[in-house]
């Protein structure tokens, strides 16, 4: 019944808007003149009409309806020179536009003068989206000189890294599994390499990253806290080129070019780390046989079939491998693939259909052959998705779509050599079908108001083939039922309202508000405080309820000095239901009854984020400060008392500055400070069984020492040739050599300790690390 209502609503919205007056529609694609890459979020402004414009979607497509007559059209995108077209409109017109990069600062200043403002941050109805393109972060100093969009995102307000050596990140007090990470629409289940020191996103292959932390659009669903939408580059459709970098830890190479000039292109980008290459110089043969590396391969191709159709195929393969001779092996990785078809029904209705594959698995072996055993686990998705953009008129643009994901979870299997004596274990696969349908309208009302409102319906069918268990309070099985293939075990569904609004006070001031509800049907379990590839994904089931996240946010935005400075204050409150924690000493590995190890509770998070950003000139960068809390309540933990989530960093401060000394030299710095993570320390000691034992205090009732770190970077652009440019980039991580705590243990036997008194001993991972990387580009 609910579904039917939803469809009726969709149809109704559709029909009621179709009845609008007959204007002339201009539509087309906005692309980069150098390489034909689609420009996402580029804008078209009608100079002779107030408050009239359009923005390109992720495929570079735009559509706008205006009255017939002579108009001056301005096409514009940040960092590009704007284009003006004066045109006499008599009928629907296709206008494809190529924008050129602004060449240098002088021209940039001219653009500033001619274009009135670049104030998207003020005028769009969407709450602040954190958006990065890899080009803009090139000079920010980073660990081992390896540029990383995920690390840079963690320097922006409300987004907190999991700490050194941890892959996850936290958005506004949400859990590490509450972030939907998409690469060309495919879910990336583990976005880290080398246990979190690098992300899987090779900057050379990435066009654009957007992180939605509030007012999340209805087209996204499935994770309670945020969406990180990463888009791969399409490749240069004008000429062949290559670029790459040689660094201390890894090297990378990208090749791209047209398949048919201006019609289709491809890009292949690879990266491999080689810490282990140096091991061949080691004396011991076993060390020579140690493997420790990761690689990434991104590939994508697209082709335009006529003016109305375009197909894309893209894939990502990445893997970490670690092994010690033949004693021990551990490897994990993601594989994703996306096939997409863009189709233009007419100049107002754009549709994209995608078929998406996504897989994450890990393998773990000890010993070999008859004397060894191995464990493996996997999650695999097939996703079919269709998204429509309907440009109703100048004031309304509608998005709607449907998708269905088939999940297969392989929680784990154990294969054992005959000499080890372990029984083979093969935990049953678990299956689920996750469906979604949404409709959302972006509407301008007058010159001051802009709204985005939508609904998403989500459903989750946990289904056979498999056995469902019921447990009592002590975790004992009380009932079990066997289900056949595709037979529903439990169905959950929910309606998710999404809303954001902006009120423009004047050209440089606005207020925005947003609310969203999101259901999350799959959950990541981790029994260590740092995330690792062996963390287990589990579906919502007859025992596990979907997580529900609600968030309300309010923000004030102001631009100064012709948008040179952008100031914002955002505040939020987030409610989380059906949060998951673990019973003491829960065993998550190869556990067929994993659900009885879980306890359920709720959470809340709130905070205020201040940011000042300088976007133009020789000195650019930002400063932000966040005051926030992230709290959880579980009946089974400390008798239901509210406690801090690990990521409850009360104060969080970031400073990022880039200064262009001259055309050849750019220096940069970043500084990070945050309150130490909330952790559980002993609150007493006692003797038992001949051991000195810690009495565990309140959950997360203590703090690690505060974290702070300063990094410096220098990029030196070497002499440019006609078809070749190159640079050297130097960076120093942790300049003043702060030993930040990775973990703390309590021991009376650390080094020489004559009194035998217990001491707190911290482990720090990184001291000062200088690095150098050579980057080149063949044009």
């Amino acid at each position: 019944m609910k579904q039917l209502n939803f469809l009726t609503l969709l149809l109704f919205t559709f029909l009621s808007f179709s009845a609008f007056s007959q204007n002339i529609t201009i539509s087309g694609n906005i692309t980069d003149a150098r390489n034909g890459e689609d420009l996402f979020g580029a804008s078209l402004i009608v100079a002779d009409m107030s408050n009239t414009g359009a923005r390109s979607n992720v495929y570079g497509f735009y559509s706008l309806s205006i009255p017939a007559g002579e108009h001056t059209l301005i096409y514009r995108s940040s960092g590009y020179e704007e284009q003006r077209i004066v045109i006499q409109l008599t009928k629907d017109t296709l206008i494809n536009i190529e924008l050129s990069l602004s060449k240098d600062v002088q021209e940039l200043e001219e653009v500033e003068v001619t274009s009135k403002r670049s104030n998207n941050n003020i005028t769009s109805s969407q709450m602040e989206v954190t958006r990065l393109d890899p080009q803009s972060i090139k000079t920010i100093p980073i660990l081992f000189g390896e540029q990383d969009v995920m690390k840079t995102l963690q320097l922006t307000p409300g987004i907190k890294g999991g700490g050194e050596g941890s892959a996850g990140f936290y958005v506004r007090g949400g859990g590490a599994d509450q972030n939907l990470i998409l690469l060309d629409e495919s879910t990336v289940y583990n976005a880290s390499h080398l246990l979190g020191f690098f992300s899987v996103f090779n900057s050379d292959a990435i066009k654009d990253v957007a992180l939605y932390k509030s007012g999340i659009p209805a087209e996204y669903g499935g994770r309670a806290s945020s969406v990180m939408d990463v888009r791969m580059r399409d490749g240069n459709n004008k000429k062949f080129g290559a670029s790459g970098g040689i660094g201390l830890i890894s090297s990378r190479l990208t090749v791209e070019g047209p398949i048919v000039k201006d019609k289709g292109s491809f890009i292949v980008s690879g990266r491999r780390s080689y810490a282990d290459v140096f091991l061949v110089f080691a004396k011991e043969e076993e060390i020579q046989n140690t493997t420790l590396f990761f690689y990434d391969l991104n590939a994508k191709a697209n082709y335009k079939i006529g003016d109305k159709d375009r197909v894309y195929i893209s894939g990502y393969f990445g893997r970490d491998k670690f092994s010690l001779d033949d004693q021990f092996g551990f490897d994990w990785g993601n594989a994703t693939g996306t096939v997409r078809w863009n189709h233009l029904f007419n100049d107002k209705l754009f549709v994209n259909t995608s078929f998406i594959y996504s897989e994450f698995d890990y393998r773990f072996t000890i010993g070999q052959g008859e004397d060894g055993f191995g464990i493996r686990s996997k999650i695999r998705d097939f996703n079919l998705k269709q998204d429509y953009n309907y440009y109703i008129n100048n004031n309304n643009s509608l998005k709607f779509g449907v998708n269905a994901i088939h999940h297969t979870f392989q929680p784990g299997s154990l294969e054992s050599g005959v000499n080890v004596g372990f029984n083979e274990i093969n935990l049953d696969d678990r299956h689920a079908l996750e469906v979604g349908a949404y409709v959302q309208n972006e509407q301008k009302v007058g010159n001051r108001w802009a709204f985005m409102y939508g609904l998403r319906y989500s459903g989750f069918n946990y289904m056979g083939k498999g056995t469902a268990y019921e447990y009592d309070d002590n975790g004992l099985i009380t009932d079990e039922t066997t289900y056949g293939s595709w037979e529903s075990i439990k169905y959950y569904q929910g309606i998710e309202p999404r809303f954001s609004a902006s009120f423009i006070l004047n050209e440089s001031n606005s207020i925005k508000a947003g609310y969203n509800r999101i259901f999350q049907y799959i959950h990541q379990l981790s029994n260590t405080t740092t995330s690792s590839p062996t963390d287990v994904w589990v579906p919502t089931s007859n025992n596990v309820k979907p997580q529900i996240g609600d968030q309300a946010a309010l923000g004030y935005y102001k631009n100064f000095k012709q948008d040179e400075y952008q100031v914002s204050v955002e505040t939020y409150y987030k409610w989380l239901q059906n949060q998951i924690d673990y019973k003491p000493n829960a065993n998550l590995l190869l556990n067929g009854q994993i659900e009885r190890e879980l306890v359920y509770g709720k959470g809340r998070a709130f905070g205020v984020e201040f940011q000042i950003k300088k976007t133009k000139g020789k000195l650019t960068g930002w400063f932000n400060y966040t005051l926030s809390r992230a709290l959880r309540t579980f009946e089974d933990i400390d008798a239901g008392a509210e406690f801090s989530a690990r990521q409850d960093r009360i104060h969080d401060l970031n400073l990022v500055l880039t200064y262009e000394i001259n055309k050849k030299l750019v220096v940069s710095t970043s500084f990070v400070y945050y309150t130490g993570d909330a952790v559980t320390f002993p609150s007493a000691l006692y003797e038992m069984d001949g051991y000195e034992v810690a009495y565990v205090g309140k959950r997360n009732g203590n703090r690690l020492p505060d974290y702070h770190r300063l990094d410096l970077g220098l990029t030196w652009y070497l002499k440019e040739r006609k078809h070749f440019e190159h640079n050297l980039s130097f960076s120093i991580y942790n300049v003043y050599n702060r030993e930040n705590a990775f973990s703390v243990r309590f021991t009376d036997s650390f080094e020489d300790n004559p009194t035998g008194q217990t001491q707190a001993v911290q482990t720090a991972l990184f001291k000062i690390i200088p690095s150098i990387t050579y980057n080149f580009k063949i044009k």
């Binding site: 021990f328 054992s416 029984n423 482990t763 720090a764």
Partner: protein, 265 residues
Amino acid sequence: MKKLYFLFTISFLVLISSCQKVIDLEVTDTEPKLVIEAKYDAVKEEVFVRLSKSINVFSNDGYTTLTGASVEITDGNGVVTPLVDQADGTYLLENYSPIYSAEYAMKVTVDGETYEASDVLQPVVPLDSLTTEFQPQTPFFDAGYVVYMNVTDPVGDNYYRAIKKINGEYKRELGDQFMFDDDFTEGNIQKVPLFSELYQVGDTVQIDLLSYSEKSYTYFSELRAIAGGGSSSAAPANPTSYWSKECLGHFSVFGYDTKVIVIEE
């Protein structure tokens, strides 16, 4: 399993050059809590109880013990026998013969409060033999002999703890505590390696293989998990207490089988 992964993490971290130091840190002290350590060793036929109090984490003081308590054990037939106060916080009962598969109850009355707990004495699973295997030198281990315990695991849930005595000395390091159950090996002949240490020719290795009840196994596993003083578990918690009133410690009854091997080439 957990241990092997732990090993991996540690070696990985070493590779990226971590560093450690003592730091000043604030912890929240709790008021001293009563600890009752009570055990019945069915092979030695000895019941032992120790009463003490917990201390602050960074305290320099020793542990205070409690004397003058009334301590008694009840066997499966309901026979109550008191323990003798040794006046140093310990209470002792010797020559107390076991009844296997029977439930024993412990009752401690101290400072006007009574604490009770019980445990079942499991039949002892025999340790068939100890065998060795030579392991050549690797970058992470020296050369030496791995000792294997060969156990015929009976059908049904079984819980084990191995205690090592090397060259006449009991090994008391945390890493020497070795506990395992038969989750992966139910009903099989098990060949269980003692990985934590390698032995050289001439070493005498004695293993006491304890058979625990599920309750005691759970308690000591949980105790072991937090005794390391680390903060890496996502759900750190005190071991489940099976005492009738809030206090720390545990009452266990157990028997064991012992085998000795002298390492030969």
